[in-house]
């Protein structure tokens, strides 16, 4: 957890020195707004990774849920219900993933790979890329207006994060997630139901992706039908950089939040610092590698022996 924290502090110090305009309140607000959907999805992904699974289908899920929200709103449903529909759709997709992984025991990377490709291609086939337009005017900001909307969306995202943090820390459900990821067999012997935990974690991931889709979609007046490309990589990178271990059982939602904030800040920070657009991707990759390398070196130094003797 400390790696993203220090990296973020370092980045902010550089910005304070070289591009103080970054700290303009309007800019910070816009960055938080942009990060809101990623924060919500990162909460779900943290749970998934904690249980030693992965979900690379959330980008396609995002696209599908956004389209569903738009289509429902266009058909006359009140926006709140359309939003609920998006979340429900996400939960449904998540439950399919969960069934295949938990019940049938299929590897999550393959299941979600199939879901990612299947969903996106089907969506593309049906929509041919044509956006969902001419939505009712209360779709944007859910009718709250720009000022309220721009406050509610990040507040909601942070609220979801806070509630989830509380649940993970203080409820048996949260402990079950950690236990399942740490050692599923031991958890089972201790009376927990790791398969159920995994199933519900995927459902939660789906529902949270649906919510993320909604929070993203209501910032605009229409719905793009192939959004979310690369979203899963963004979220996974944030969770991993935030300190949640891919091997399961170790990590925190606080770390993931920091990971999201760090990675969401890097892009705009580079622009403020005058970097050219065509070096963006290389710098993003470098930052991910730097973060995990530092973490690995720390592990070697602190444990005094090879980190490989850490349980896999």
């Amino acid at each position: 957890m400390t790696v993203p924290f220090f990296a973020l502090v370092a980045l902010l110090l550089v910005l304070a020195a070289a591009a103080p305009a970054f700290f303009d309140p309007a800019n910070l607000r816009d960055l938080l707004l942009a990060a809101a959907p990623v924060i919500v999805a990162a909460v779900g992904m943290t749970l998934v990774v904690l249980t030693r699974q992965i979900d690379i289908s959330i980008g396609s899920q995002l696209a599908v849920c956004a389209v569903i929200a738009g289509v429902l709103a266009k058909s006359g449903l009140p926006v709140a219900l359309a939003g609920l529909g998006a979340v429900a759709a996400g939960a449904l997709i998540g439950s399919v993933n969960g069934l295949l992984v938990a019940r049938l025991g299929l590897p999550s990377i393959v299941v979600t790979l199939a879901m990612m490709v299947g969903l996106r291609e089907t969506l593309r086939w049906i929509t041919e890329g044509i956006w969902v337009r001419e939505l009712p005017s209360d779709f944007q900001w859910m009718g709250l207006g720009q000022d309220a909307g721009r406050f509610v969306i990040p507040a909601l995202a942070l609220g979801v994060w806070a509630a989830s943090s509380w649940i993970m820390r203080y409820t048996s459900g949260g402990r079950a997630v950690y236990a399942t990821g740490s050692d599923a067999e031991a958890a089972r012997l201790a009376g927990m139901r790791p398969k159920q935990v995994v199933f519900w974690v995927f459902v939660a991931m789906g529902a949270l992706t649906g919510l993320a889709a909604l929070l993203s979609a209501i910032q605009f007046i229409d719905v793009q039908t192939n959004s979310g490309v690369g979203f899963e990589l963004r979220v996974i990178a944030a969770v991993v950089v935030g300190g949640t271990s891919i091997a399961g059982g170790r990590g925190s939602l606080t770390g993931s939040l920091l990971g999201v904030i760090l990675l969401s800040t890097v892009g705009p920070a580079l622009v403020f610092l005058g970097s050219q657009a065509y070096w963006d991707r290389a710098l993003q990759g470098l930052i991910i590698l730097a973060a995990v390398t530092v973490d690995a070196l720390r592990a070697v130094a602190s444990e005094g022996r090879g980190p490989g003797l850490r349980r896999r």
């Binding site: 942009a34 890329g129 229409d222 622009v271 403020f272």
Partner: protein
């Protein structure tokens, strides 16, 4: 043993059956740059209409994402399948030209539309607007909005997008020649994602507070940039660019978006089919200077280019007439 036997049996049976159909209907294979793009979806509408009028079989296929290799593979498949005409909107000029030349040596007629290949790789190019023409129109709007001097920024598609890079090349030339007092401060990619265009525009307005015009040269970037300017409350900034009228309409009405440049995409698809048909039937050949294209009337043929027209500017006054 049984596995190999099964495969052998299948092959024997299928070789005996043969496949596909041979009839006297002209087959035109038309490929967009990628299928998930509403711009091309509207071209298809026009193409389908023309195909019905002309009684031509239209095969519409292409990559689902902009992958340079995929377009080659689709053309290869069409060569194998056997079609009469191939009509392609070219994503990567050099790459595709190789396989288009191959198609021509097999007797297949080749035309390009929307984006050209190398001239010796195709018979005709259905041109809706030259890259130079597009650049001039966009620069003209920007200059008008800035009163001849000032800063502007560009939101493009992806950094590797061939069309956009060509337009940018021409744009810089036009700026140097005609509008030396306009400064292009930065070019940021949107990767054809509206949200990305939105966020890049927000950042650009803050990093370069002197920017007064945002030029969005990718379809999803136009509403993205316009929404960003609108939400920023910067009434001194306007947007122009290249985009679909349907996406642009609300922002044109708002006033945030001053103008959206494009052409009638349905007409483009329509004209492409008519060109393909004329080429296959021999009505279009070197020396011909005009082409009769159904509801589009007579179109000018300039050497090896069939001209749709000049870039069209959608404004808040005329955008209602268009349905795409």
């Amino acid at each position: 043993m049984t596995r190999a036997g099964l495969v052998a049996l299948v092959l024997a049976v299928s070789a005996a059956c043969g496949g596909g159909g041979t009839d006297n209907v002209l087959t035109v294979a038309m490929m967009p740059k990628n299928k998930g793009n509403p711009y091309f979806a509207s071209c298809r509408v026009g193409a389908e209409a023309a195909a019905k009028e002309l009684n031509v079989r239209l095969l519409w296929d292409g990559p689902t994402e902009t992958d340079p290799a995929k377009q080659n593979e689709v053309v290869d498949a069409w060569i194998t399948r056997g079609v009469d005409v191939i009509a392609v909107s070219v994503e990567n000029k050099e790459a595709l030209s190789t396989v288009l030349r191959k198609a021509r040596t097999r007797g297949i007629k080749v035309i390009t539309w929307d984006a050209d290949a190398e001239p010796d790789a195709r018979d005709y190019f259905v041109n809706q607007a030259t890259p130079r023409g597009i650049a001039e129109t966009l620069a003209g709007h920007t200059a008008r909005l800035l009163d001849g001097r000032g800063e502007f920024g560009v939101i493009t598609a992806s950094l590797t997008a061939a069309n956009q890079n060509e337009w940018l090349r021409q744009l810089r030339a036009v700026l140097a020649e005609r509008y030396p007092d306009l400064t292009l401060v930065d070019v940021r990619p949107s990767d054809d994602d509206r949200r990305r265009a939105f966020e890049e525009t927000q950042t650009m307005l803050k990093v370069h507070p002197g920017v007064r015009v945002i030029m969005a040269i990718a379809s999803p970037a136009v509403p993205g940039a316009a929404e960003a300017v609108k939400q920023s409350g910067r009434t001194d900034v306007r947007v122009t660019g290249l985009g679909l009228p349907g996406d642009a309409k609300p922002y044109l009405k708002d006033g945030v978006l001053d103008s959206a440049v494009l052409w009638n995409t349905e007409d483009l698809g329509f004209l492409t089919m008519y060109t393909a048909h004329a080429l296959a039937t021999g009505a279009l050949k070197p020396g011909v200077t005009s082409l009769s294209a159904g509801r589009l009337g007579t179109r000018q043929v300039d050497g090896d280019q069939v001209i749709l027209g000049t870039p069209f500017t959608f404004t808040k006054d005329n955008v209602d007439q268009f349905k795409f």
